[in-house]
Symmetry: C2
Subunit: 565 residues, 2 copies
């Protein structure tokens, strides 16, 4: 492509709401333009990258045996009522009434639609397994759209849905997708990590997320130092050590005027945070209140807590008024001794002996407290957030925390949708089988932004070759003084195109500075500069976008192709 | 692709609401599945054709110098309020409120969005001309979605928008698109015709539609017998001959009890329909009523009539009560003599002498009526539908009527949107230029159905090679008895794939009948049958989908490739 015919619109300023580097660079490089909150146009330059990611996804999905189709973006409410999700999905689902006042939504995901399609078209076990996918525009009405296309409302997604006759086959389909995802993220050029994940409101048993590691990531990942374990902290397990020191201290009430937080109490009483047990109060599954004890240095994990049968789901902290009424005491002084509500304890909290906790009396705490002696042995569970330094749940190494951007998510749904929507197929002996489903998503448009978060410098984007809008830019300089550089550049450009290389020719005739600045900002991986001086020595100047300095290479197509690799 | 791994779902029955052959065949061949009214899933087989059409469109748009981008499907109401179309677009535009109760629409078209983008990014005349296009899912909430993907609510469209500094350059951009469209429709394999068209609510001056000729077409086209003129009847002009016979008869009132329609009166009074003038009453631009006189054998063209300054736009017939009140007479007996409202006449009606018309008195007509003698010479205009046998408006040949399916539409919009949305760029001498816009659409998904309307037989679809889901199907027969046919078919299939041919292998091991029936129904253009008998003679059986009979060819890849052309 010639820049004289291909509109680019690089800018120096970015709006204040562009908080992260990928958002700023995508705007500055003119890859995207904002139309409204969470609504972006992919400009020609950005669309080239988007289409390349899309092609990689398509190729790997096809290679894994999945079959592409295209479902409507607008879905009738009836299907969501069948699955029971119409009332569960919150405001994030964009609900629509058509001219006849019938209810629809702009599909945030397509489990219901694909289940209805398979229900109508698939009759026999012989037609399974099948894995349908599509690459399609989705809409999720985010409460707070931000970070450009990273968390947009309208976005491009690849969603796939597999149907199997057995749980074993579902595992196999899932594994095929897991491998395809690893190939996709590798080919895109991302530094990524598959991690165990929570299934959220999609439902189902096993699930993993594919995270692109970046400081701007909204997710925190727990990764073992030995690389053998990785999970989203939302889902990362913690395990009991199975040991607790014997009670040594005697129970004592201490006056702690105004000392409400664990940090204040720890400092005031000169005990480490790890010797403190804090009691938080949440809404219980039965509509009442439930106390959750965690160690002073730990936090409740609301996702894991909500899975406890006694805790309300979704997790919700109790209202302060309700807590104060139940305890007859200000929050900040609560503890498990003589608590007026049921108490469950996180594994780690239950393993502390001689601990400090609130006395359920204003301005007072207890010390030397012991479970089973001063209060009942609590029911224990995995209720807290994993922290750095925790032993890895798989027993190998310790945990460190990384930030990641969720680029993909794969789920074993099981029979959640096939049961709810009465999907059955006939088995080998005429029996009725309810298929096991899996679903597999990739945020295609998000991936472009996530790669930029990983790959940029002060001058702009540094695209991996595979998804660069153009792989190489040919820049003639000094063209106002002599026609040779321009002609040579034209020839090289034509040769590169003929060789199937995605080349860009900067034929704008600007000064070198602005041309180089644009090429750096838009992140073209390879740059060939052609000037009279180099040509006199039979040379082109070559520079990789990551290199500090340019180098001279022979002025031949072969030398250029060798550099492109 | 192997049919054992590629799901097809052919069926024998189609629902009663599938009224046209393409809708029935697309359902029977399993190309599409209905999700709701006007909402269709493109199944894997259908999607392959859709993507091939999409690729042809993209290649030709790129070749014509247009640049692809991708705008959001969801658009803020503000832009439509700026252009003045928010209140003009009827129920066909799907209006949406987001979680914050802000107004949006699912874009039925993107003039407003692209104008806003160019307004933000383009500063100088040097950046023009530019032609942006996208291939994107659109939604139009049709009152009566029908004919499958032919008139669906959600559909795939290519829309392009050009911006020029002068009207001359707009003409050039328009011409480039016109040529690209001719190439696209030709490559897709359609029998099509570009015709002059009305611009509808998109606005602008010149426009042409690209129609795929088919009996099921919803549009009527007026085409000259010499091929020199073609227009949608909505837009087809008629011209005055400039002659009228001198008045010969005397005015006479005739009793015509119960004879209300032109046909009744013509028969009763024994005069040809061409000697009758009927007076229709429409809403006038000033809010009152206006009489429109057309010849007895002609009909009002509401699109052309609405362009007359005295007629309300959009065109609307007057309410019967209002007409009867104004005339003091039942409709069916109206005429221009002593009409109590202003009357305008179509050219042809104004050229009739000694005509018959209603007497504005129940059960009575007048005969021997003459304009300028018995009533005022009327203001004349082009107000009627063109009919078969009319002289061609370009003076060459006469008109015949064809049916067409609108596959594309190109418009010279002029400054309608650039003016309304204050888009200006700086000219060569610093002056402010309001760009001239063009817009160019193709119904990508509709095109698939339209081609089927043209190209099918009793057994199913007959795809043109360029958009067939697969070009050739290799079908081994008798595989239960001998492995040779199966192995040979596998080899040929692999060779075809390696040669870049989009081949399908029917490895389902069914009886020949069902395999041939499926191949015919889904419309694969070329079929190779491989059986032991043929192989013994060193031959494959080849049949083109259009051929009556199969023929034997040498059992070699070369012979097959030669047949594929």
């Amino acid at each position: 492509m010639r820049l004289s015919r291909f509109p680019i619109a690089t800018t120096k300023e970015t709006p204040a709401d562009a908080e992260i580097v990928s958002h700023r660079l995508m705007l500055r490089a003119g890859l995207i333009r904002k139309l409204g909150a969470g609504l972006y146009t992919w400009m020609p330059l950005g669309l080239r990258t988007l289409r390349k990611i899309e092609s990689i996804v398509r190729e790997e999905m096809n290679r894994a045996g999945a079959v592409e189709l295209l479902m409507p973006s607008i879905q009738p409410a009836e299907l969501w009522q069948e699955s029971g999700r119409w009332d569960v999905m919150g405001d994030e689902m964009l609900r629509i009434k058509d001219r006849h006042k019938n209810d629809f939504c702009y599909g945030p995901t397509h489990e219901e639609v694909i289940t209805a399609i398979v229900r109508a078209d698939v009759r026999s076990y012989r037609q399974l397994p099948i894995n349908y996918y599509q690459i399609q525009t989705k809409f999720r009405d985010e409460r707070r759209p931000r970070f450009g296309v990273m968390r947009a409302r309208e976005f491009l997604m690849k969603d796939a849905y597999s149907f199997s006759t057995t749980a074993e086959d579902l595992s196999q389909q899932y594994e095929l997708m897991r491998e395809a995802y690893i190939r996709i993220f590798t080919r895109v050029g991302a530094d990524f990590r598959p991690v165990q994940a929570d299934s959220g409101n999609i439902g189902g048993a096993k699930s993993e997320e594919f995270h692109i590691l970046a400081l701007a990531g909204e997710d925190l990942l727990a990764v073992s130092t030995e690389g053998s374990y990785a999970a989203n902290v939302e889902a990362a397990e913690t395990k009991p050590t199975g040991t607790r020191a014997a009670a040594a201290a005697t129970l004592e009430k201490v006056s702690t005027p105004g000392q409400k937080t664990c940090e204040q109490v720890s400092k005031f009483m000169k005990v480490p945070l790890t010797a403190k047990v804090k009691l938080m109060v949440a809404k219980a599954a039965d509509g009442g209140l439930i106390g959750i004890a965690v160690r002073g240095d730990h936090e409740i994990n609301p996702i894991k807590a909500a899975k406890h049968p006694k805790v309300a789901s979704p997790f919700e902290m109790a209202r302060i008024e309700d807590v104060q009424k139940a305890f007859g005491c200000e929050v900040g002084y609560l503890g498990p001794v003589n608590a007026p509500i049921p108490v469950i304890a996180d594994f780690a909290a239950a393993e502390v002996a001689d601990f400090v906790c609130g006395a359920n009396e204003v301005d007072h705490h207890l010390k030397g407290v012991n479970w089973g002696r001063d209060c009942a042995e609590p029911e224990t569970a995995d209720l807290r957030m994993i922290v750095e330094g925790d032993p890895s749940p798989d027993g190998v190494g310790t945990i460190r925390l990384l930030r990641g951007i969720e680029g993909g998510h794969i789920f074993q749904l099981g029979q959640k949708y096939s049961k709810a929507m009465s999907l059955t197929v006939q088995g080998e002996n005429g029996e009725s089988i309810t298929p096991e489903m899996g679903c597999y998503g990739i945020g295609v448009s998000r991936m472009a932004a996530a790669v930029i978060e990983q790959s940029h410098d002060a001058n702009g984007i540094i695209w991996p070759d595979a998804i660069a809008p153009f792989r190489v830019i040919v820049t003639p300089i000094g063209t106002d003084k002599s026609p040779t550089a321009k002609q040579t550049a034209e020839t090289l450009y034509e040769q590169l195109i003929a060789a199937g290389v995605d080349a860009l020719l900067d034929d704008r005739g600007l000064r070198p500075g602005p041309m180089f600045a644009d090429a750096d900002l838009i992140g073209i991986p390879h740059r060939i500069v052609i000037g009279d001086k180099g040509l006199a020595a039979g040379q082109f100047e070559y520079k990789h976008r990551r290199a500090d300095k340019a180098e001279m290479i022979p002025a031949t197509l072969e030398a250029v192709l060798e550099k492109l690799g």
